[in-house]
C-alpha cells in the first residue's frame, strides 16, 4: 500500500454479474436508520451510486 492508502499496483474494477452479496448488506442513512440494500430493487430496478468520498 502506498501514500494515501493508494494501491501499489493497478487494480481493475470487478463488478459482479449478480447483486446477491450486495443485497444482504445493511447500511445506516444520514439519520442512523438502517437500510437493506436488496430492498431497493425488490419491486423495480435501482440505480446505486458509490461516491468516491463525501468531500
Amino acid at each position: 500500500m502506498g501514500i494515501f492508502g493508494t494501491a501499489s499496483e493497478r487494480q481493475h474494477p470487478q463488478p459482479p454479474g449478480r447483486a446477491d452479496e450486495l443485497g444482504e448488506i445493511e447500511l445506516p442513512d444520514q439519520d442512523g436508520a438502517q437500510h437493506r440494500l436488496g430492498d431497493y430493487w425488490k419491486d423495480g430496478p435501482a440505480v446505486l451510486v458509490w461516491l468516491r468520498h463525501y468531500g
Binding site: T6, L27, Y40, V49
Partner: protein, 130 residues
C-alpha cells in the same frame, strides 16, 4: 456526481436512486446538506458495499495524476463546486450500477481512476434499456 439532480427522471423510469458514501452517518448528513440532496445518503464506513460492487482502490497516478487533476479542475469550474475535504479512504474509487428486481446487474460503470465517472446522461440511457 450530479445524478441526484435527476432524481425525478430516475423515478419516472420506475427506478430508485441510492447514494452510498464511505464514512459515518454524521458525515453523510453534512454532505447531504452541503450538496442540497433530497434523498437518503447511506454511510458505508467499512466499505463493505464498495468491495461487493467490485470498486477498486486507486494507485497514486490514478488518484492525483495529470489527467485526473485536469478533469477535476474542469469539473470544479463547470459545477462551481470545489472539492471539499476528503472524508474516508482517500484512494477508494466509486462507481454506479443498475440492478434489476431479480438481482442481476443490468449495467455498471465502476471508476478506473478518480476522474472516471459515468455521466447522469449515460446512467439514464442505460436505465431506459432495462
Amino acid at each position: 456526481m450530479q445524478l441526484h439532480r435527476e432524481r425525478e427522471t430516475v423515478e419516472e423510469a420506475g427506478a430508485k436512486l441510492v447514494l452510498i458514501g464511505q464514512a459515518t452517518p454524521r458525515h453523510a448528513a453534512h454532505f447531504r446538506r452541503r450538496q442540497e440532496i433530497d434523498l437518503p445518503v447511506l454511510a458505508d464506513e467499512k466499505r463493505a458495499s464498495y468491495r461487493a460492487a467490485g470498486a477498486k482502490v486507486a494507485t497514486l497516478n490514478e488518484l492525483l495524476g495529470p489527467k485526473v487533476a485536469a478533469k477535476g479542475l474542469v469539473s470544479s469550474i463547470r459545477f462551481r463546486q470545489p472539492q471539499g475535504r476528503t472524508i474516508g479512504h482517500p484512494a477508494q474509487l466509486g462507481g454506479a450500477m443498475i440492478i434489476r428486481p431479480d438481482g442481476s446487474v443490468a449495467w455498471s460503470h465502476m471508476s478506473e481512476d478518480a476522474s472516471d465517472n459515468a455521466s447522469p446522461a449515460e446512467i439514464l440511457a442505460a436505465l431506459r434499456d432495462v
